[in-house]
């Protein structure tokens, strides 16, 4: 993988080297796939949203005001794509599926308990309101600050804090129930 900065790669792409964009795709695809999968629950939808985000970012690369912060810009596009995809999905039957690859890896070094725990988490996550799920993932999984979350989502810091708080309360309730069944 290249060690060149995002800004250097973007400059190369804007100079006409389309293939150079592959370095950015390779750099961020797994990192942001995690967010998309947890936001949408469905792997195919997540890959579609992520692909769409990469392509839209490429098409609008000249509009990336701060190439050194390409990652944040791409994340904002992806978050928007996930919201659009999520809204579309609410009109269909919602079917959250397991991440078979991750579960397979997990069960290789842990017993079935862990697989069950992962499934409980996915189910609980799926039952959160989308804005609460997004806020929880950004804060506790992606480790963004509230200021970064505000820049990314367009929501205010106090609203985001409330979403995270409610998401945590809901997860505690749902997972607490699951552990006592």
């Amino acid at each position: 993988m290249t060690n060149r900065s995002d800004a250097a790669i973007i400059s190369q792409v804007l100079d006409g080297d389309v293939e150079a964009y592959g370095a950015l795709v390779a750099r961020y695809r797994e990192r942001y796939a995690r967010f998309a999968v947890h936001m949408l629950g469905e792997r195919d939808d997540a890959e579609e949203a992520l692909q769409d985000a990469f392509v839209r970012a490429y098409r609008a690369l000249g509009q990336c005001a701060d190439p050194a912060r390409f990652d944040a810009w791409l994340f904002r596009i992806l978050a928007n794509r996930c919201r659009t995809a999520g809204a579309r999905r609410t009109r269909r039957a919602r079917t959250f599926v397991r991440d078979e690859v991750a579960l397979g890896e997990a069960s290789a070094d842990h017993p079935a308990e862990r697989q069950e725990w992962q499934e409980e988490i996915q189910r609980a996550l799926a039952r959160l309101e989308p804005d609460q799920r997004e806020a929880f993932l950004l804060k506790h999984v992606e480790d963004l600050s509230y200021e970064e979350m505000a820049a990314l989502t367009g929501a205010g810091v106090s609203a985001l804090k409330m979403r995270v708080k409610r998401a945590c309360e809901r997860l505690r309730a749902l997972l607490g129930e699951a552990q006592h069944v």
Binding site: V18, A33, R34, F54, A60, A102, I121, H140, L171, R172
Partner: protein, 189 residues
């Protein structure tokens, strides 16, 4: 259960969710194949927002501003029109699904040769929802929409993307350009 134990629960959840996610083996190739494809219409539209389009001298700019002000005065009456009008589903044959409501979009554009509507409901495709000009310069179209919040814009003469001047709400899209926002059914997403 103590608060500490509850925090531990959230930490355990976060730890699980931080595990890497493996993408389909063909993902990278699919993205790059899409990137290599020639630009579509929406890319041209995105570029329209960012590329310098017209450079004028300050004098010409003043003249244009005066002209626009005069046009605004002349057109003020024509622009006194309702916001996008929402009808109940049963009022139109266009509404085919439960909960769907028909929204009338109107744009006053006397000099336009064509106007179309783009939005998240038609994949931002200018060819899918053309407006008709019933009166001189008044373009309209009825569109069935699902309940929720929708973003949209008008495309004038195939290349001029405009937010709805009558819509009270606008939102900046992925590329930093304003789109209008309409909420159907009193819900927002």
């Amino acid at each position: 259960m103590s608060n500490d134990e509850r925090d531990e629960l959230i930490d355990r959840v976060a730890d699980e969710l931080r595990a890497p996610v493996t993408l389909d083996a063909g993902f990278h190739a699919r993205v790059m194949a899409e990137v290599r494809r020639p630009a579509g219409r929406w890319q041209a539209a995105a570029q329209w927002w960012t590329e310098p389009r017209l450079r004028v001298s300050p004098l010409v700019g003043l003249a244009c501003a005066a002209g626009l002000a005069a046009l605004a005065l002349l057109g003020a009456r024509a622009l006194e029109r309702p916001l996008p009008r929402i009808e109940a589903a049963g009022e139109s044959a266009l509404a085919t699904e439960p909960g769907t409501q028909v929204v009338q979009f109107v744009l006053v554009a006397p000099s336009a040769a064509s106007v179309s509507l783009v939005g998240d409901f038609n994949d931002w495709d200018p060819s899918r929802t053309p407006l008709r000009s019933a009166a001189t310069g008044v373009w309209s179209v009825n569109v069935p929409l699902h309940p929720g919040q929708h973003q949209y814009a008008f495309v004038v003469d195939g290349k001029d993307w405009r937010p709805d001047p009558a819509a009270p709400n606008a939102i900046t899209d992925d590329f930093g350009s304003p789109n209008s926002v309409i909420t159907v059914g009193g819900k927002s997403s």
